[in-house]
């Protein structure tokens, strides 16, 4: 591979976009702690603060992929710690199902990730983002990205 080829590839890879749904009570505070603690993690993450991960509808995730997001992270309180007692039970069921459903649709299931991050786990948040970014980079940009016309060309 020549020099230009490598540069192009790098550009494409740097464009990776990740959307993170963070629950207000645990994971958003965890992300905040990661920031306050000056922990390093990749900046290509768009945070969406939701009151509970139980409010994250599968619609949102499909819509995110439609809008050209490469990976979606859903992070909430640990099971048993939910501010609304059982909100994350629904998340656990939904995400488990949705991962397999994405596989049926033809989107790699690794593009969706569910993590439990508490308000005290700033380090875990940073490492989850680092790890997830690496995972998405390895997968490459989403096949549904508008700037990638491959799907349309069937």
């Amino acid at each position: 591979m020549n020099k230009e080829g490598t540069a192009e590839k790098k550009d494409e890879r740097e464009e990776i976009k990740i959307l993170a749904f963070l629950c207000n009570w645990c994971s958003y505070a965890g992300a905040d702690l990661a920031g306050v603690s000056r922990l390093q993690y990749p900046a290509k993450v768009l945070d969406v603060r939701v009151m509970c991960t139980g409010t994250v509808s599968p619609y949102f995730i499909i819509k995110a992929f439609q809008e050209g997001i490469d990976g979606v992270l859903v992070a909430g309180c640990h099971i048993g710690d939910c501010h609304y007692l059982k909100g994350n039970y629904m998340t656990a069921k939904r995400m488990r199902f949705l991962k397999e459903a994405l596989n049926v649709f033809g989107i790699e299931k690794e593009r969706l990730r569910l993590e439990w991050v508490s308000a005290a786990e700033g380090e875990k948040f940073a490492s989850v983002i680092r790890d997830f970014t690496e995972q998405i980079k390895a997968l490459g940009p989403s096949p549904l990205r508008k700037d990638r016309e491959e799907v349309a060309k069937v």
Partner: protein, 268 residues
């Protein structure tokens, strides 16, 4: 055909206010509501073999006349739809007198039906035919790898003319406000709809609900294999939560209740 009607009449005698049947008149199949005082008419009716979304009409009748008692002939798929709808409080099963109808072999094959018999119903006319073992289209799709699957669905959904026929005929689609009409999710006026919205949104809603009647696929003018898509998702539901829509009156879809810690422990 008339012996089926005779049986229905016998069983429903005195228990219903009207019969809802799909009858054939001058070669045209139409649904008809026959009140009990015009019951003699039934003897002259010719029952139609057409699969018709009668369940939707029952929903509407029960909404307007909650006390009406209706006699119905149901196939396996229709019975499952009624069971599933009663879990969502859209149908009152107590007000219905049901007589089952086993599907004939050619219907089973035409529909590629897995469960062509109203299991669990007391009165069933006709002999039980075994369902097919596996949906051939689904087997074909499952053999593809992830990127091929996306290409496959893209090529199928490209044909969509967005007529909403699949939603309109679906017995389980009872919502007054539909996510497919939400401009934030599905861009209005865009044909064919952008992947992955529309079909995947609908598919996600059908998971744990779809009774695999196949009317959507039958009605689709573009010939999109919708049922195979919904079947694939139902399979996931069964694998992960052990839930089969329409098969058991006492079980509910895991997506309509939160449950206990033991329900989610194995998912973490």
């Amino acid at each position: 055909m008339s012996d089926i009607l005779q049986k229905l009449k016998e069983i429903a005698d005195g228990k219903v206010d009207a019969f809802l049947l799909v009858v054939q008149e001058d070669g045209v199949s139409l649904p008809q509501l026959i009140p009990i005082d015009e019951m003699d008419q039934i003897d002259h009716k010719e029952l139609s073999d057409l699969r018709y979304p009668l369940v939707k009409i029952v929903e509407e009748i029960q909404e307007r006349f909650p006390n009406a008692r209706i006699g119905l002939l149901v196939r396996g798929c229709e019975y499952r739809a009624l069971i599933e709808l009663s879990k969502y409080s859209q149908i009152n099963l107590d007000k219905l007198v049901l007589v089952g109808r086993a599907c004939e072999r050619n219907t089973v094959e035409k529909c590629a039906c897995l469960y062509p018999y109203p299991y669990g119903l007391e009165n069933v006319v006709g002999e039980e035919n075994p369902g097919i073992e596996a949906d051939p289209k689904l087997v074909e799709i499952e053999g593809l790898d992830v990127s091929e699957k996306l290409r496959y669905w893209a090529s199928q959904f490209e044909k969509c003319i967005k007529c909403y026929g699949c939603r309109n005929i679906c017995p389980l689609c009872y919502c007054k406000e539909c996510s497919l009409e939400n401009p934030g999710l599905v861009v209005p006026g865009e044909v064919p709809p952008t992947l992955p919205a529309f079909h995947f949104l609908r598919a996600l809603d059908m998971a744990g609900r779809c009774v695999e009647c196949g009317l959507c696929e039958e009605v689709c003018p573009a010939g999109i294999p919708l049922r195979s898509l919904y079947r694939a998702l139902n399979k996931i539901m069964e694998d992960q939560f052990g839930y089969k829509p329409g098969h058991n009156l006492d079980e509910r879809s895991p997506f309509i209740f939160l449950g206990e810690t033991s329900d989610v422990e194995h998912l973490i």
